[in-house]
Symmetry: D2
């Protein structure tokens, strides 16, 4: 349930306002150099603090509990935790019955019969993605020289990100965005037909990231408007280089050696400062909810590094299965 993968296997745990969040990674080959500082760059990219992201500043310090010895992976499970230190639980305590729209509060309350940890989203918190980023750092080492790069291409429908964010902040609102991810230096033949197609596995992981609402590979939704003669990528040479890349580097679920490219739609942050009219389960009436606390104006800004991470995790698993 909270685990994924066949050879390179991850398992996440933790709650936003509990003792810690973390991840266990199984199937990592022995002998890969890893130090706690290796995680800094990607964790920093994920971190809050810049314009448009929450002012909650966690230290986000990875603590390696197992699987690394004398600076190298041992082949045994790697567990990395992040202690929750900067927790202000009182911000959330009154939201037990007046549930935040767009969040998992309502489904969690129902699914777990009221036993869920409601503080800060609990186990549904975006803070759980810290472990994904950490596993991504390790996965990127495994898949080298394959290179994964994700970036924001659009915020609130605009290419002028700063303006869009400024406007949302002024209105106490939030805003969505598009992330594009490319994978280069892909060997031919990763992925498996049908249920372990590259698209299946990447989309599976990408949709596990909170706030993702859509994904498309290659020409994606535009391909639905194309003809076959436009869409087919003609092969140019022996190593399968294609003239166009409408397929996004994947045929029949398998990498064809061209660049893999996909785009991900990120919804606007659910928590907004603006008043919202929503049902109060205590009073049984629709009432005004004002969410206090610290929020991201645009959660999409923090997501590229997470998409890179889950993509690296997917590719590492495919690679270890094939040993290519």
């Amino acid at each position: 349930m909270n685990s994924f993968g066949r050879i390179f296997k991850i398992s996440i745990f933790g709650e936003s306002h509990g003792k810690a969040v973390g991840i266990t990674i199984n199937g990592c080959p022995a002998g890969i150099e890893i130090s706690e500082t290796n995680f800094n760059f990607d964790l920093q990219r994920r971190k809050s603090g810049s314009t448009g992201t929450t002012t909650r500043i966690e230290d986000d310090i990875p603590e390696i509990l197992s699987g690394i010895f004398e600076g190298k992976t041992t082949g045994s499970p790697i567990t990395i935790i992040f202690k929750n230190t900067n927790v202000k639980s009182k911000d959330y305590s009154r939201l037990k019955n007046h549930l935040r729209p767009g969040h998992a509060d309502f489904v969690a309350k129902n699914k777990y019969s009221g036993f869920t940890d409601i503080r800060g989203g609990g186990h549904f918190s975006g803070r759980l993605t810290l472990g994904l980023v950490a596993a991504g750092v390790i996965a990127k080492k495994i898949i080298s020289p394959i290179k994964i790069k994700a970036k924001i291409t659009e915020i609130g429908g605009s290419k002028d990100f700063e303006e869009a964010i400024k406007k949302a902040i002024e209105e106490n609102d939030s805003i969505g965005g598009i992330v594009e991810c490319t994978i280069n230096n892909m060997p031919i033949g990763l992925g498996e037909p049908f249920f372990d197609s590259i698209e299946s596995v990447i989309s599976h992981l990408v949709f596990s990231i909170p706030a993702v609402k859509g994904i498309e590979f290659g020409s994606g939704f535009a391909s639905a408007k194309m003809t076959g003669s436009e869409h087919n990528d003609l092969i140019l040479n022996e190593i399968g280089k294609t003239k166009t890349n409408n397929a996004g580097g994947i045929n029949g679920g398998i990498s064809n050696g061209n660049e893999i490219i996909f785009k991900v739609a990120i919804k606007p942050t659910s928590s907004i400062g603006k008043n919202q009219e929503t049902f109060n389960f205590e009073t049984k009436k629709i009432e005004t909810l004002k969410i206090e606390g610290r929020h991201d104006t645009c959660i999409a800004l923090r997501i590229p590094v997470i998409i890179e991470a889950v993509t690296a995790i997917a590719i590492a698993d495919f690679k270890l299965i094939l040993n290519k």
Copy 2:
């Protein structure tokens, strides 16, 4: 690899021009009434023959090998096969080196070192979806009264499907489309946080269907252009009915009881009658390829019932895990 699911578990096998294609279903509860005629309606929907679909007419007769006794499921694995009877392998034999653009020919040749069954796409053939449709018929019985309905909403970017198809046929070309799928009567609480979110599992299965290039839930890509105050679905009452449904019936990966809705982008059929300039691996030159044989002008027309099937499979698995 060719299997999926945790409790309701499917495993597909077969090649387009081999002896048979089929599926094994594990985890189906005992006592469900199933006869071979139950499959007719959905198999007919998937079948070729209408305008825009291939003129290859297989009988598509399901043969139940196991798991059904005296008209009811026994709780043991159900294996259903479809013999390949109307096979014209000679149409394909010369494509060993002049590979069809858009198909898995190139990746299969590389991945399996030339040992793949090249006839008619082999194991990569859309014919493998017969088993999915059969499993979908059983899954739909399990999930009742949950109702799944998929339909074409757009062909070649147009709502006038007939015109778009007519034009493509005239040009010896093919054309893509959009399928929309809805799930009604959903209980609250199906799905699991993170890696077994409803979106993760449905997208995983949907991307295993050949020709799928994108998927979006609820407002999907449009949500990337929205603000939080527009996008958040305000809760109206105790059972979680929301004012809008931008979330597409899912929060935090879990069903919230509202209609689940998602859209799928289908690329144009790869096989087209038109000439294509593509690399010939024998002559080492780019040469004109003309694909003979029978093709779908618009494969999207056959896909709604397959999307219903994989969605039913996903929901059946979620339901059996929870016993709701």
Copy 3:
């Protein structure tokens, strides 16, 4: 449930008196030569007909439905079925309420609420092991030059097998036995710590064979009576050859390069010709049951080849995970 393995993955289906029994094998590398005649030798070893085994003679002809093309594996799922041709269902029909002691009749009736296929044990039949033997033939090719050899070492507590069987036949009774299995040419390092130890995986598969009641590796139960100084296998040279082999070739769940050896206890066949006093669920009384039909006096005689098969399946999976 009816499937096993991580890379080399098997899935069995069928009932004793249904249309067919069979197996699907995923993860088999492409390019391995397989013809239907390759299965004959091991299927013959499993077959009934010799003294002490049932006189039901199935043809046991493997029919390959998928995954083999031009005599070689394609890398796609291999499905092999065995049609049930020599079925005498009438022998079993009256056993619906007067359940056979030692068989799964009672648990199947309860577990599947009466919907199970009761004829000849249905899905619980030893006939399902046909698929295991077929998969074993393929697995043995994959693991070469590793060699697996199982043999009977004891029947009814005696080394004089013929005498023990003769006596049981005279008394209309059945008799158990011991099978010993060795694995040679093992590379060092197969197996994974804890839950995928070699002992864990082999015992898992061995206990899926009907009639198995015990398994021990190396000195096994005798080791419980030994001291550490007797039991420890002293290492003699650089490749880890040990002076003794009390560990049975495994330390910490991992192969140490010495011969792997284990013994399996097989109970006497449950079906016997002798009268048995057991509860009749229709009359609610303890009544005399006489089982008609064809039975093995000593099912253990047919089991060595099945143990070889599941062991080869386990080792193939370990080997493909490591690519050693």
Copy 4:
């Protein structure tokens, strides 16, 4: 690899002399009362300190990192760690080349190309079973009123345990034993045919416990010497109570409602104070090895609670799959 289970899923991590060992448990239902003190009784049973067990006294304090909120399980993953505080790594440092017979040192060195954590057995240490015991405590709550009870029945082949241990201590040697485990109040119908038979799953988990060399269910190895008329358990009444219990409460891999009973063979502790003549990989000669440090004279004494734990884990998983 280091995880097991389908619904109730465990994943272990850690090394003997690293920062911590621990376990993550997925699939635990919400609302079960758990406090850190609940673990004391079983952890105490596992603990070292009594005659015949090592004098290394860890505090073995469980620290719950996630999944428990206000004293109850939340339905999210439960991670429990045990920090390693009483670590004397210097005892082990010189064993890098003079490998301890009976231990995993040699296979670990080979499998992980020398990158394994060699201190105190590293990830192969029996200390990893702390997590199993903790998960067992939770599993026992889930399966109530099913009762699991394991006990030592034999030490060094003798029923007089004290005498056998005293003798081994005097000789600086170690000694093995037999553990018997019973499961009572079992519902009928847990377990799945073939690969998820109760015997398969329990044996899989039991063989993951270090030092286990054999397992037998019901009459086990003795059944190999019996006739069918002796071995068959005649049914006495409507709820399936049997006259004898040679089957050990299991038919066809499924629980039949009678007591489940199995016996486990535990080898003598590998670490002994006595001199051993074994290969030194540095000098390339067979040399005398004297293992310093703290060892269990009879590791079997600590194993009953671990066998109870893994059995409870197996049964919890079966129960949650069926919801019986």
